[in-house]
Point group: C2
Chain length 331, copies 2
DNA sequence: ATGAAAGCGCTAACAC
DNA sequence: GTGTTAGCGCTTTCAT
């Protein structure tokens, strides 16, 4: 039972040529109205669906697009994937999501698999990696970098968050509340985004004439564990700070977890500014003050950049969306 | 720049037949070691990847599997998708995730798109719908039903959670604490899972000789809004109940949100048993008591059921995993 | 208005 | 050990 209904099956069933069937189904002009309706009706009855493989092999484009993110557990990525998936559905695109766990090896595998399927475009949160990536992996797929940017031997579109304003605002806010020793937890400078956030934090501290002691700036891999460890150092008194500003999704969750585990009260024991605004932040200690990203706008733009209609040859563009500081109870 | 490297490109480049290239790359026996290595080297240099479309068109199977879930915002689905995606990556399967928002129309579209791509199998959380589904949509794809089961004109594998034990345990626990008016919020009986949970709740109430007043049993669509409305009725005093047991992911989140918004203290004002154990539940009011599902085991089994190796013709199997009541502070 | 042929990338089945 | 042919489903091009 190979079973699949093809235009040839249909043609045989109707006693006509498969070409007539093809034309009838693709709305071509040169088919008798009568024939077309007959074919369509029978196709619907039999549950015919066009083979994407055959279309792809003809070189007509696959309408497959890829999304490569670290994970779907972090609510930011989950929400972004969720919105993008719905938008792709509505644009008749096949979205394939790959996870990297921020491991460059997994990222390579994901890209190879997208290339196997001849994906027309993909959007990726590049995993932290040393050196330049292999250009061959990108052959034939329109690339959009998301959140972070990796050094590449060619230009790509990019979709990033302009969060330096919100980070500075957080520092100013904390300074106005009288905090002098403010600590920053963020990704290391190997990530373009990490470097920028850190710079913004330091500038804001200096603008407030606050000390930027080295132990206040904690940068490492952007993981839950790193965030937890950094916060642990603060709540244990190992690092002397009265406020925390987070510069990454996972780091923020980890830091929050450590604070709550330690039973501290925010902002009384430590003032806390999170990053990424997962929905449950509003439920924690009266609401976690946080740096919120415009997820729906990002996804909308992502769809636009991924759409096959996007004309080739146009210069690569960088789209930046502003993050916003959401004031709640913890800072 | 049509650019794609094919076995013919390679063959021409090396001055040999494309069949030799094919054999060399697929480890076939009849190739000179020397030739094979040469071909492999050149293929790697040029960044050759096998066309999945061509393989699919030959009828060799696509290794594409689908996942159809209501959304990725609910942490249960997100974690399940996350784990399954990693497992699929490791099994060299292409996983395509589709979202339904519990809308049967979206579900239909998702299935048609999977069929276009000739997916070999898919796992679905069926959207709540009336009547029997159209069997033609399932043609050619191995089907696994997840969490819920829809009436179908044929048997399918299924992967469900046996949560009646945990629900009963929750009721016994609350009864032992002296609660007499316990309210249950769950999905309506159109969902197989909803019916079972409700029955379990009622049985447990009767076992404790507690009243099962109609207003205590709230069943409707499994949404955040429904959960919020049900809980609102309790905290406002409109429904007289001292404890809440939730029987659905979104319902649980909605109910929790309403309780927290109302500023109530759990379990003193109302005892609360959630459903699904998202990670942040442990951060709310000292920890939300909840019914936890074994996500990793579910995903592992899902992979097994989806794997193309699964022999055809074997009778459909139902795999059930036990949910577990996790005691925390709110009940 | 309809049909026949060719070709997209790949491999099973045959030559040799 | 290597080459040739054919065919998977579809549409473009060229007949009829």
């Amino acid at each position: 039972m190979s079973g699949r209904i093809t235009i040839k099956t249909l043609a045989q069933d109707l006693g006509i040529s498969h070409m007539t069937v093809s034309r009838a189904l693709s709305d071509s002009s040169n088919v008798k109205r009568e024939t077309r309706e007959l074919v369509r009706k029978r196709a619907a009855e039999l549950g015919y669906v066009k083979s994407a493989a055959a279309t792809a092999m003809r070189g007509d484009g696959t309408r497959i697009v890829g999304l490569i993110v670290p994970n779907l557990v972090n609510e930011f990525y989950a929400r972004f994937a969720n919105t993008l998936a719905l938008l792709c559905e509505d644009s008749d695109l096949h979205l394939i999501t790959h996870l990297t766990n921020d491991d460059p090896e997994r990222e390579l595998i994901a890209m190879r698999k997208l290339r196997e399927l001849d994906a027309s475009a993909f959007i990726t949160v590049p995993a932290p990696a040393e050196g330049e990536a292999d250009a061959r992996l990108y052959q034939g797929m329109h690339t959009v970098q998301f959140i972070r940017k990796r050094a590449l031997p060619f230009d790509t579109d990019s979709l990033v968050v302009q969060d330096t304003g919100a980070i500075k605002e957080a520092v100013h806010h904390l300074a106005a509340k009288g905090h002098k020793r403010i600590s920053y937890f963020g990704a290391h400078a190997a990530l373009s985004s990490g470097r920028q956030r850190q710079t913004a934090f330091i500038e804001a501290m200096e603008e407030n004439a606050l000390p930027v002691a080295p132990e206040l700036i904690q940068t490492a891999a952007p993981t839950f564990e790193v965030g937890a460890a950094c916060a642990q150092a603060v709540v244990s008194g190992e690092v002397n700070a009265s406020a925390i500003v987070c510069g990454g999704f996972e780091i923020s969750n980890g830091a929050l977890d450590a604070c709550l585990r330690a039973g501290i009260s925010m902002p009384d024991d430590v003032a806390f500014v999170g990053y990424g605004d997962p929905s449950f932040y509003r439920w924690i200690q009266g609401g976690v003050t946080t740096i919120a990203l415009p997820i729906d706008e990002l996804a909308q733009k992502a769809l636009e950049l991924l759409s096959p209609t996007k004309s080739e040859g146009v210069a690569a563009q960088e789209c930046a969306f502003k993050a916003e500081l959401v004031y709640r109870a913890t800072a």
